[in-house]
Amino acid sequence: MALALQTFATVKDANAALKAVGTRYLGGGTLVVRAANEGDVSVSSLVRSTDPAQSAIAVAGGKARIGASVTMAAIARHPGLAILAKAARAVGGPAIRNMATVGGNLFAPAPYGDFAVALLALDATVGTEDGELPIETFLPGRDGSRAIVTSVSFTLPKADGFRFLKVSRVKPKSVSVLSIAAILEQAADGTVSSARIALGCMADRPMRARAAERALKGKSLDQNGIAAALTAASEGIAPITDPIASAWYRAEVLPVHLGRLLLT
């Protein structure tokens, strides 16, 4: 099916055009052009914005703001975002990383969206034409959202505070069996003072492992200390089933990989 693309200099104008029925926003194309190629007839026209702010990365004072059109490749090579390079490189092969955007990744259904898992662990704020909202609020409502995402912002974690793991069948690139991102802070005695853990493929979109986070608090990061968190990690999950792995398999291996991540 043929598509019509409209290009606007400002996000505001693109957002107005996006209100038309059958219109989708074109970021890197890895989701929406793919859908059109696949025969999704609900997509009849596309809009995009060439606003330079959409492609800007700003890192200062321990904070980062990434424009929605910034690609995974640009994140992976940015010296100020080195701590997130592993998560950015987890997305697709080199060509996909040159196209896939941070804004688009927020909308990627499981088993995609590995970078959004990292953003959820980072407690990112999603900027849209309608304002800013926490990623935990944004993700549940993303399918009905008609406001163009303009940026994601977050506080950069300490150098050793962010952990990310993508599990796939084919190395170095394949879709996720699951992905895990964690922000861990430890007290002087080594026990966990705070934990944010996000999971990919454990639902149709990234989710928090809140029970595991609670179980980790005050515990040390050793085999005994994390045992309760590993048991609790499965609470509330509803893993996807796809040709890569069944829901049962994903649920079975989640504690194994979470354990490896925590003991790294």
Partner: protein
């Protein structure tokens, strides 16, 4: 469907076309311009057979709309040879039997070219990583990896 003008440099030649809005670069190259070196495999961004180089970056032409390429410089495999002399990567693919059915070959060569442009002497792991977005159902990948390493060695010998 509205026609839109598109201008870009393809393999060193200026191209100016009117295309249907929403046409993928892959379709524009193959059906409009007549460069059939990028192959249409999955059309989903999975197989890499349609890979081209746009402004120095590896991209998937099946997921790129042609009108977004206005003003860019595009390289496809058909633009690599000069005056009838194969590019070292093309020669290496032939010499190391890295081509069987040949469908993945143009995409593989494009991915390898970007790698060698930035990393003239890559490790085997770097080659594997660079080719990780490209699927081959014939060769088992090893001859392809060897072809890229062979081309890299040839480049370094020429430079020495």
């Amino acid at each position: 469907m509205a026609k839109v003008p598109v201008q870009f440099t393809l393999n060193g030649s200026e191209k100016a076309e009117f295309i249907d809005s929403g046409t993928t670069l892959l379709n524009a190259l193959r059906d409009k311009i007549g460069d059939t070196s990028p192959k249409g495999g999955c059309h989903q961004g999975t197989c890499g057979a349609c890979s081209v180089i746009i402004d120095g970056e590896l991209r998937l032409s099946c997921l790129t709309l042609a009108e977004t390429c206005n003003g860019t410089t595009i390289t496809t495999t058909s633009g690599l040879s000069e005056s009838g002399v194969l590019h070292p990567l093309q020669r290496a693919f032939l010499d190391t039997f890295a081509t069987q059915c040949g469908f993945c070959t143009p995409g593989m060569i494009m991915a390898a070219k970007v790698l060698l442009d930035h990393t003239p002497n890559p490790s085997r792991d770097e080659v594997v990583e660079a080719l990780s977005g490209n699927i081959c159902r014939c060769t088992g990948y090893e001859p392809i990896i060897q072809a890229v390493l062979t081309a890299a060695r040839a480049n370094s010998q020429n430079a020495a």
